[in-house]
Symmetry: C2
Subunit: 254 residues, 2 copies
């Protein structure tokens, strides 16, 4: 049985709590409330009042708090004998106090309250200084997912950066597409099958094989027509830059 | 029974042929071969040799040819009594010869040889000059899909533009994400669940609700770290522009 304390009750903390509670070999001994999750960097936290360090000692603390809060919250745990891990893609392990057994437990996924998550397919990237802590994290991650990967901080930072392109930026393109539809009183739902298929293709094709469209085939006439249709300056800039990038990737001349 | 001739044996033509052949009320009376699909604009086509206009008269010709070829191929059909439709998102209906009954039959989807398509959910955008032709297209589209929409040429051009953002540009972001992974010897498959979830979210959340990440929360420190990690100039430009666009959308100051 692995005894886990979860610090933070935001999206990541809640999804973890729900997922661990369904496993047979993990027990959640403590969930630290959201006051800690929403703390300000200069706030004098009274962790004792929240019971941190007081109840049953966990095997590890999982900090599911915002990136900014990791250093401060983990400082409050500097006397613990338990392993302390954060769950951030972009924060290095060494941000945790040197005095503790430290590690990282990063699920490569986007979490929202309304969207149910099946952890089985989610890559969990783990890191720890000590071999036995890495084994503990491997066991724990294995309870949730078949995709457990040891990824050191620097590689993880790159992976998180790639995820920003694949998730945040992609989502913004959906947003722009939605604004174009809205300007024509066309429902966004018209684009949904296309969005799903575009993502689905990545399981059977490379992005290179899947690429189509005016920029891919160097169709200057359509690109020029599209630029004329775009009245929003930001949308036009995004269109130009990405069309140029595609043309450059596939060797079409501008 | 609707008798269909399909002109073009590329991806769109093949997917249509396959889909129509499974319906009970559509008969494919002719498929015109790919020589026409790959024609050059200045090539002297001998359509007669391909049998066009010779065999059983179809109720309609579906031109599943490249955008550039629509005008030329349809010229060869200018004496037909049948309805002539093209399947392009970005080409206006009026590109077809004035002498024929003309229309558009545009499936809003991306087609690849390796990816199977279920037409049932794909929006089919139809357009025609005559009411009875519109009804014919509505019947035909209804054989394949539950999502049949009458969309005039100008709106269709905007819809196609939105699709370029949602599909072509999104696919390029996957490509950039893949290059970042490759530079770190990380498998692209690590990103696949994230890509699927990002798309899936669009069925339950708006893009605004779904947006997360450093630019969304105005996290300048992480944005700056990411820009340092990006050694590829084009990737850095895309990162900057999209981060600025997100910050502007959500009112965060740069």
């Amino acid at each position: 049985m692995i005894r886990v304390a979860i610090v933070g009750t935001g999206n990541v903390g809640n999804h973890f709590a729900k997922a661990f509670s369904k496993t047979k070999d993990v027990r959640i001994v403590q969930v630290i409330n959201s006051r800690i999750d929403s703390l300000e960097a200069d706030q004098d936290l009274n962790i004792q009042k929240d019971g941190l360090l007081k109840r049953e000692n966990p095997d590890l603390y999982i900090l599911a708090v915002s990136d900014d809060a990791i250093a401060l919250v983990s400082q409050k745990l500097k006397n613990t004998k338990s392993l302390v891990v954060h769950t951030s893609g972009s924060v290095a392990m060494k941000v945790l106090p040197k005095a503790v057994r430290r590690g990282v437990f990063y699920p490569l996924q986007t979490f929202s309250k309304k969207s149910e998550i099946d952890f089985a397919q989610i890559p969990i990237c783990i890191e720890a200084e000590r071999k036995e802590d890495l084994e503990l994290l491997r066991d724990l991650a294995g309870q949730l997912s078949d995709e457990v990967h040891e990824v050191p901080s620097e590689k993880r930072a790159h992976l998180h950066l790639a995820a920003v392109f694949a998730n945040n930026f992609t989502n913004h393109l959906y947003h722009v597409a939605g604004e174009i539809c809205e300007s024509q009183n066309l429902p966004f739902s018209l684009l949904e099958p296309l969005i799903q298929e575009t993502a689905k293709k990545m399981t059977v094709l490379t992005s290179r094989e899947a690429q189509t469209g005016p920029a891919r085939r160097g169709d200057i006439a359509t690109i020029s027509k599209h630029l004329d249709l775009l009245t929003n300056k930001e949308h036009r800039e995004i269109y130009s830059l990405l069309s140029q990038a595609i043309q450059k990737t596939y060797g079409e001349k501008l």
